[in-house]
Each structure stands twice: as C-alpha cells, then as structure tokens.
C-alpha cells in the first residue's frame, strides 16, 4: 500500500458529493421526537411539581402564571419555569409528567448574551414553534412515578 494509493484515496473524495451542510441556508432535518426545548401546555398542567422533583439539576422552579390568569385545573397556580443554562435535556420531566403537559420540540437555538435571558417563563414555554407536530403521545413516556413505558409494535 504505497503512499500514492493513500493520496489518491483522499483526492478521489474531491469528486464525490459534498458532505457539508451550509448551515444557515440549509438545515439538517431533525427526526421526530428530537429532545430540544420543552413545550408546556398550560391547560393540562396541574402544578404537581413532579417535573421539578425529578429534574437532576433542579432547573425547574414552580412559578405562578403571569398577569393573574387562572386555570381551574391548576388550583395552586404553579407552572414550571426552566432555566435552560442548567438543563441537560434528558427529558425525564416530559416522561414523568402525569398529565402529559410537557412535550418535545425541535427548537435548539437558545443562546443569549446574558444568563438571565435564558430563563424561560411558562408563557414563553407554551409558545408552539412552527412546524411542530404533536407526536407527544407516540414518544411520551407517560410513566407516572415509576417509569413503565407503553409498548409499541415496530
């Protein structure tokens, strides 16, 4: 195996299909169930705080909804607020939420200039990103406290 063969191997790749994705103009298509930012459905959240309990980094704090909006299914008026600088995107909160109020989105671009801007209030979390398909039940663990997951025939 001479050096020329090795060199030719590299040169051969000049004529092959380009592998680079020109990022800002071409997007890499993310699969369903990609674990990006969370999506909160405020009409389902009962404020039980299991998501805050199971979070490994204590990212989630329970805060009242803004501008005195009340939800009848959430008597204590407590909603999860995420501090994404600490979140490891393991999505145990989404799996353990008993009412399925949390969901996966494909939104991953959360960089900010200051740390405080990365605190996502419940209202900001409940904004649905465009092109979001509700695959929540397919991937959602609906595990309740002990994580038994639904079986799904492939």
């Amino acid at each position: 195996m001479s050096a020329a063969a090795a060199f030719w191997e590299g040169v051969k790749h000049m004529f092959k299909k380009r592998f680079t994705i020109k990022h800002p103009y071409q997007e890499h298509e993310l699969p369903d169930g990609y674990r990006g930012r969370h999506l909160l459905r405020m009409d389902r959240c009962i404020g039980c705080g299991i998501c805050a309990w199971i979070c490994p980094e204590k990212t989630i704090t329970m805060v009242p909804a803004a501008n005195q909006k009340t939800y009848q299914q959430n008597p204590k008026n407590r909603f999860p607020q995420y501090w994404y600088v600490r979140c490891c995107f393991c999505h145990f909160c989404t799996d353990y939420c008993p009412t399925g109020a949390l969901d996966y989105t494909k939104d991953y671009d959360l960089a900010e200039y200051e740390k405080e801007l990365i605190i996502w209030s419940p209202e900001r979390l409940s904004r649905v990103p465009e092109g979001h398909r509700g695959y929540q039940t397919e991937f959602h663990g609906r595990a309740g406290v002990s994580h038994v997951l639904p079986t799904r025939e492939d």
């Binding site: 993310l30 490994p56 999505h91 002990s146 997951l149």
Partner: protein
C-alpha cells in the same frame, strides 16, 4: 546530561485536559508522570446525594462518546439488586445502541487520537464525517446526539421508531464500503505505519501486570473481552470474534479498534435481524434494596465497573465508578520511558485515553 522539564500542557488538541510532566534529556524522554484531575468533577460524591433516576444523566456524562456503556454499567447492579427481569426487547435495543456507540467511539478515537495527534487531517475528516451518520441514528432512536440517558432500571425509554431498521442497515452498508478507504489512507498508509510500527511496544506480560484493558490489552495479544468471558445482556446469543494482534505496538492497537468496528457491524446486523417483539420496560420502583453489586461491561475503551451499595432508600449509599481509561493510564509512564519525544503523541493517542472518563 541536562534534564529539562517539559509540560505537555493541560490543554491540547486531544479530548479533555490532562498534563504529562516530561523530563527529557536531549530528544529522549527520561521519565513521564501523568498529572490528571483537571476534569475531576466528583461524580461519586454527587451520586450519593441524588436518587437513582436523577443519577442517570450525570453518570453518563464522563464519557459522552460512549454514553450507553456507562449507562448500562450503572443500571446493571441496580437491576440485580432490585431483582427486576429486563424484557428481551429492551436488552436487544440496549445492545443495538451500545454497538452503534462503540463504532462512533472508535471513529472518534481514530479521528482525534489517531488523526489529529499525528497531524493526519484527512483521517480526522473521514472519521468525524462517518461518525455523523451514526449520530443521526442516535438522534432517531433516542432523541439526542451523544448524551442519551436511554436505559432506566427495568428497560429502555423508547421503542425503535418506524424506518429505523432500514436506515441502520443502509448506514452499515455504507460503513462497510467506506472502511477499506479508511484503512488505505490511515492504517496502511506507509507514512503513518512508519511512525506507529514498533512504537510504544507493550508486551503481553507487561500488559497483564499493569492491568490495562480493552483494545490496549487485546493489542498485546491477550484475548480478553467481557462480552465473551462474562456475557451480559444478549451477547451470549450473538456470534462474533474478538480481534487481537500479537505485536502490541501503537499500530496494532489501532488495527484492533478498526477490526472491532467490523465486528460491531456484524453484531448490529444480527441484533436488528432477530430482535423479538414485546414490552420494552418493566415497572420498577425508584429504590435500591439493601445489598451491593458490581457490574462488568465492555465499553469501547475497555472494561467499565460500577460497584453500588444500596441501603434501602432511593439514594445509593456508595457508587464506585471505574472506567477503562483510568486503568490504561498506568501504561503511559511505562511506555514513555526512553522514547523519542516525537513519538509521545503517537503513544498517548494509541491508548485512546479519555481524561474526563478517567477523572470522573
């Protein structure tokens, strides 16, 4: 004879921070002592303060190139203590994720430790390019590129999504076609062979005495692989060989990793072919009964052990985490004695040493 001190600094193009304090006499290394701990985050201490589910993301972080093995090794003692019977399909899905991870981790190692350390940029581009395809598969199966936290005590968190089987088989076909190209430009490239042959030779007796594990051990001719010696999961039902080579030099260690990629492709094809139907998880409480257990899992960098003591609460009493890189570190000072300074990156690279996994 003037002994000069040389710091192969904590930050270098390799992965993670680790300093080697080298004493050189002219161009030859008299003595090299590794100084580690620059990425020591105290995983074992924090693990005692969180319940077993909260620990999973943290236990997998020390080696993000090889996340699923750390996860399985942490879960195994908990499952033996809890006595929960993991369903067949979950074991098969774990095996699929682990073998995909082994290929991605070896490609990462060849790209950074083999390519960048010996200035071979094409190997770096080939290795990272092919690894991207596997990361796409990881995204599809688990939702994350490298850090899955996918196994929980009692099973796995998701089932195989639709279309995963075809995409996996296509990726494996492409990899099988592209491996000879990687072999031609890297392993059989006379320039790299000249640098890596008979460099950093670790004979069989020294390898056993120093207790090195994984591809470093198999590169020295010791046929030892936990997947064959103490089979866990479904490895006793899959037939594959354990590649070893006799010489024990840097090139043979890379050759063993390269052959292991081929074996992992064979394993993946069998696993995806005869994966049974059925549940993917079993209900298991967040609690460890009293007792202790140690697990042995073969990761891409060698044998990983987790020794967990449970005291009946939901938090483990003691988690002792032990990774392949920490055991291979002992070979570094031994191999670097009396070696030309130019060979240091090649020898250090051939150990595929991952400082974050060693410091924990």
């Amino acid at each position: 004879m003037s002994i000069l001190d040389l710091n192969v600094g904590p930050q270098h193009p390799g992965s993670g921070h680790m300093r080697i304090m080298v004493k050189t006499d002219g161009d030859f290394i008299v003595e090299a002592t590794p100084d580690i701990g620059y990425v020591h985050r105290g995983v074992e201490k924090i693990a005692e303060s969180r319940n077993i589910i909260k620990n999973i993301p943290m236990i997998c972080r020390p080696n993000i190139a090889d996340d699923s093995h750390l996860n399985w090794s942490y879960i195994a003692p908990i499952e033996t203590l809890q006595g929960v019977e993991v369903p067949e399909r979950a074991l098969y899905i774990r095996t699929i994720l682990c073998e995909m991870n082994r290929i991605a981790s070896h490609l990462y190692g060849m790209a950074i430790m083999g390519g960048v350390f010996s200035g071979h940029t094409t190997m770096y581009m080939f290795g990272f390019g092919d690894r991207e395809l596997l990361l796409d598969l990881n995204e599809m199966l688990t939702g994350a590129r490298m850090t899955f936290s996918f196994s929980v005590p009692g099973g796995v968190r998701r089932d195989l999504p639709g279309g995963f089987r075809e995409k996996l088989l296509d990726t494996l076909d492409y990899l099988e076609l592209h491996l000879p190209a990687i072999d031609r430009i890297f392993l059989s490239n006379p320039i790299f062979v000249e640098r890596a042959k008979n460099v950093g030779v670790l004979r069989k007796a020294d390898a056993v005495r120093l207790g090195v594990v994984g591809p470093v051990l198999r590169g020295s001719g010791v046929r030892c692989d936990i997947r064959k010696d103490a089979p866990y999961g479904v490895y006793d039902r899959l037939d594959f060989e354990i590649p070893t080579s006799k010489e024990g030099d840097s090139l043979s260690r890379w050759r063993v990793r390269f052959e292991e990629i081929r074996q992992s492709i064979v394993i993946l094809r069998q696993a995806i072919r005869d994966i049974p139907k059925g549940p993917i998880a079993k209900k298991s409480p967040i609690m460890i009964p009293k007792g202790e257990a140690i697990s042995r899992i073969e990761s891409a960098r060698g044998e990983i052990n987790h020794y967990i003591i449970g005291d009946g609460s939901d938090k483990p009493y003691r988690v002792k985490m032990n990774t392949g890189s920490f055991k291979n570190l002992l070979a570094l000072p031994f191999l670097l004695k009396g070696v030309h300074i130019g060979d240091l990156p090649i020898i250090y690279g051939s150990l595929d040493y991952w400082p974050i996994e060693a410091d924990r």
